[in-house]
Subunit: 316 residues, 6 copies
């Protein structure tokens, strides 16, 4: 049998092989000449590749559904400048049996590019450097209490960092930017660390995540901005003598981080820390959107129109 495919992100054309994927889309279509074929999206931890079943499409198309983990045999191909996988055989994964061949669910779920343990250590470092003992204790208690979700949650449903551990990747990236800017503008770095690590904390209650992501009831009705402020107020209540002014500052950072009322901030940034945090958060979300858009296959110098950004992007 042929060898196993490399990761999706580093696939090259004209490879024959096999692999395990999560099938995230399955459409039965007719070709130009009227022939039936099946169009698939196949995902592993590094990305998504388009698949096509041309031979025996009617029968193979019945073997699995969108949402299934599948074992695929075929070869890669370059079509209009996009990579595609021409499927020769496909079936549902049988977890018990396929484990022997190296199948692991987590390898087929889109994932942040950095290892989660490495990111966790970076977060620990950041907390260690906080000088204000109350702020440090708050961050530690949050990290301990929500360790499981903090390690696995995505940062959003679809917009940016919408994959396993994307939440952690996002808050660390915001922290790095905010601390650099904070140093340049003489901001309170402890507050910026807290703001960066906590600004989206409400998303741990706003979203529900296993393989896919959904809004919770509270996520819809209360929203992560207010949920975050409430979680922090509760966590602070458990820390004796936490100064009220510091609590207010951290709540302000969370409540104002969307920057403008029309983006869902009930209050707008009124301190340099809040302005820096909001700028760092907005930029990081955009950078991640751009990165996603640029990795989508395309022929030309420019990406397709990005409706959220309202423009095309240049590949450079």
């Amino acid at each position: 049998m042929s060898s196993r495919f490399p990761n999706v992100r580093v696939l090259t054309p004209e490879i024959a092989g096999w692999g395990f994927f999560l099938c995230t889309r399955k459409d039965v279509r007719h070709g130009r000449g009227g022939d039936l074929f099946v169009a698939l999206s196949l995902q592993d931890g590094t990305g998504t590749v388009q698949g096509r079943i041309f031979n025996d499409a009617a029968r193979l198309g019945e073997e699995f559904d969108a949402g299934d983990f599948v074992k695929v045999q075929g070869r890669t191909d370059s079509h209009n400048g996009r990579m595609q996988l021409v499927v020769e055989n496909i079936r549902r994964v049988n977890p018990d049996q396929d484990k022997a061949q190296g199948f692991r669910e987590e390898d087929c779920v889109l994932c942040a590019p950095r290892p989660v343990d490495e990111m966790w250590r970076e977060m620990d470092e950041l907390i260690l450097h906080v000088r204000d003992p109350f702020v440090r204790e708050l961050l530690r208690s949050i990290a301990t209490q929500h360790a499981e979700k903090l390690r696995t949650w995505p940062a959003a449903l679809t917009v940016h960092h919408a994959y396993r551990s994307g939440f952690l990747e996002h808050i660390l990236s915001v922290a790095r930017s905010a601390l650099m800017l904070g140093a340049a503008y003489g901001a309170n770095q402890d507050l910026l660390t807290a703001g960066a690590l906590l600004h989206d904390i409400g998303k741990l209650e706003e979203l529900e995540y296993d393989r896919s992501t959904r809004y919770t009831r509270e996520g819809n009705l209360v929203g992560h901005v207010a949920l975050g402020a409430m979680m922090i107020r509760a966590a602070i209540a458990a820390i004796p003598e936490f100064p009220e002014v510091t609590r207010t500052q951290i709540e302000h950072l969370i409540l104002s981080h969307h920057g403008h009322k029309e983006f869902g901030a009930p209050v707008e940034p009124m301190t340099i820390e809040a302005m820096i945090l909001s700028a760092a958060d907005d930029l990081d979300a955009k950078m991640n959107q751009v990165k996603q858009a640029l990795t989508e296959d395309s022929d030309g110098e420019f990406t397709a129109y990005q409706s959220r950004l309202g423009r095309v992007l240049w590949r450079g």
Copy 2:
């Protein structure tokens, strides 16, 4: 000595008399002919009247400052269709001595038109009619805990119900409208009662009030929308077995009551109760603004341009 003036709201021209007022404005000006005079605003519990010192203006103008309670002697006059009080004598109040003549600070502070005890009983009635025992207990605990502020707070700094007990007047008025509309549309009346009485509860922490009104630090940095949700979450935490879904509904009512993100609602109304509450709140604020605008003296059929509403209003 002449007799005491009636309340400002019912002043008529050509009365000579005396009275106690809060002086809220004092400007030294020159008239057309170059003569010095003093222009005043004099307030009692029912409204504000313009005053003018023409005789002995330089000396009398030194006797008091804006912000002082004053004893005034003079006569009323109609000037360009507006009532004015031509001051013949004026001095600072001497509280100890003037008490004997009936001076009371509270009579000189702008006040809601209905007696506060009557409004308090109406609120008690509303709470009594709530059928859900958890919601009823929540409302009782809030009423007990914040009784003092609930009886005296204004509803806002300047926009609407900006006077003593205006808060209570506003939430009762919203409750009446919301319950009528709720009956028509089959809404949950318990939730509407809670939403109406609690939607602005964060203003008790957002504002500081004695004779005048100011924003607190938390008022600016956290804002009454989030403060209200947090106060309610804390109050609910003290009620054993309060259902989580009810808590989420009440928090949603508070967080969405501004109706649109651009007006500071971090989430927008997603239930018929939240839509009704938001409509009732918006209408009550407008009705109060119209009432204020119509009571300002003016010659014509139409009021001056109301910049918040972006239009003139018709006196009918």
Copy 3:
């Protein structure tokens, strides 16, 4: 033969039966396995149910078109939490012959939930209670002149109350709300009754309705706001000595009822009556949209995204 289906609104799964419907959609599709099937929307006076033809789809699909009244035999089914009707036989209605079995066109056309005669009596009551004889006469003349359309017209093409007699349902609902609010705020109740009953009167000329709804030429080019004001001016001209100030007030109510210029109001509300009417109209339209959205079948606690409202709604 099996028994007749109950109304769509009260359909339950696993019933075999037959019924008359208006087919409002017919799509020929291919299933996952490539098989042809027909997807239908079947309407009676109480709602719409999705239909599917799986057996003999090619032949049965030729028997009728979207827009036809059809006689359907089949059984109900629950599919992903939505009711659907699996069609075993279907043909065009033959009006003469099917009348015997109880076919009536009006039973297959979406209709306001309240009987029209009952609504008409409510409107009569409202007019009877108007104290101003000129306003009362105006309302009577309008009711008489447009009786036919007032009883049958929908309130809109698609947004809200978009079904037979939806117009009457809407104006009565607005009247009830407006009069309650008017009582609370001391508004002129005669004007509010007139405003509520007449605010959309231009829609009788803006729309053309038999089984479906279309814009007329004047509807597009003049619009119901201005058409309404013109119809009222003409009706008033026929009432001797109708006071000019009352005419202006009623025209203002009609012209300002959309509340803001960007929503098509050439003037914005300048009286408390106009503000109340505009709030009541807006709320009633939203309540109806919510009601429609909540009755659409769905799995979860939340509806699909409502693009007009810009949010999802909670089923509670």
Copy 4:
């Protein structure tokens, strides 16, 4: 005695003389050194010049009020590049006596630059060239019925053409532009003539004008857009067999001429005639605003910031 001043528009510095003016502003002020002086605005039919009373200011300032016609003696001066009139003597006009010296009220009221009779003839010409007999008759009936107001009305309170006969000046200018553009784009010229002459006709009822301009009750509550459509509908009703489609087109032109809903158009232009009319109207209003701004005295190449246009203008 010195000779009479030339018109304000053609005043030059260093002239001694006398003249009749309408005083539109009178402010008593203190100079840098503390001396009292009086600042005036003096208007004749061609413009406004600033006046200053330095000598005997206290006494002369008592001789008249803003709103009075005055007789002024003094000399012109150039101050910071602006013309000003240094007043040596000033008194109220005595109409009977001053008539002998050539005083006429109408010479002191700001006026369109073209003679009204010449403009009237141009309008007659335009009507004469209308080929559709119904449209021609409509225009004639309107011209006859409203001749007095059409000759004297301003086009607005303050924004553009805000002077005697400004209305006529504006509609003729719009007509010229619209007909030129209509010829270029193959539009219906009869409709464009009607649209240009009638689009603002509601202003004859929206505004009240003698020496100054005010909104009427209907002007505020109904507005000139709807008033215009109603006036035209009434005028058309008096013309037997006026085609309904033509009426709808003319009403559409009036109702849509503000171009966008947010500018108060209840419907937006849906025909090339309506688009051309709206463009011609908007441009003419802007051209007149620019002309006013450029004639205001100023030192530099650029005007002061024009808040309505949101920019400065270049003098070229």
Copy 5:
């Protein structure tokens, strides 16, 4: 063999014939009864007609692709009020062989309605009438340098004048309107001629055009507004002693021609010439959009909803 079809714009039903077209769309579909057919768009220099292949669809559908020039045999038909061409035979054009029968690529590419030479002469005339020798020389140098593109370029990708020589058609039309309006308002006609002919000149670098239109890299990243100003600055640099103030005026015309910042104008019109140019450009684009919308086949009095304009249009 049957005769050749007339131009698409003047096609009538029930003609049998043959013709050369550019096929711009090819969709393989299933009919109501499940039969396969091919839906085409066929373009010549005057417009686009819909085609249908019903007979032998599978085989004929393989004979060509969208983007090919094709030779078509069939007959015309009226379907739901729209013209369609029922194709009986179709094949790719063989340029060498079909030239003999009159095939010319340029006849199959959508084209401005006026002959390009006639338009060129009109532009020459306009330049000849410019009195300022510097402006005239600038226009001549631009016309000479860019003659090829000026004769063939479209004015946009999709919005308006999106066909061969549409650029030239558009700038001439803007020039005619602007000069007429300029005469009425006393504008500098030389500047208006320059502004009209040069305002979109950056599009010659923004777009790439042969048979179809694409954005260039500079088109996306710099945009035609700034590109135009830069091209003009370069062209002016080659003209000795070109007055700086004239250069600034022309650059202002180009940079401000979109009228408002939100439409991409880095500066807003500050001169009457810039205001006139912007109005003429906006109107011409709209007039062309309307013309396109009205020529699309449709049943009713009104066009389909025009999403760019946000409304339907009336056919009159």
Copy 6:
């Protein structure tokens, strides 16, 4: 004679002394008791202090004008928490004579806090680190050609960095932030250096500066965004073989740096470099505005309402 005052930024109350200032405001006013006094604003290189002349105000007020350099003798005072200078003597500076006492014009003009030579060296460093030889040469040529203006220009008229050398301070600050962010997101650092140093380069032609700042003709009519792109295109034209793609990238950075069309960017950021630059520029402008607002004297925890930012700021 008393000693010289320290710098305005470090003034403390109750100092008697003398100093040289630029008087930027002079108002003659009347106090509460009617007495004349003069209110001044007095500026040195570090800030502005309010002055008051109470004694001999009429005479001393004649000794100088706003815009003059003045020599002041008096004592400092704290009034409502703000520093003020009670002037006992004041006269115009006599440059020749006062030089002996240490008068230098540049010491009385508001100035960036960092020494200009130090900033210049930092810019040199940045340029030195650019690896792309073309970009480096471009930056060097710009620095050389505009050295004089680069060292002295403010960054804006009023909004931010509106003082001598504010331009240099701003671009360096943007460069630091952009390079840090660029390192974090893997951006092209050469392009970011170029973008940061050049993005506002058009302001050297947009503004005219000696002691005060004005817009130039080109500044108003062309604007600094387009002017900057043109200046760079010209500078690049002088560098042989400058790659076209690099030129386009730099022009894109300049043209898009305002981030959104409504803020005057003719194109919006389409690369990560452009997004980073725009974020860094926006943040730096806001940080400077906050800094200015926080240094304005005030009593409370919060600043006055900042109309540009639409909120109050917290002093922390």
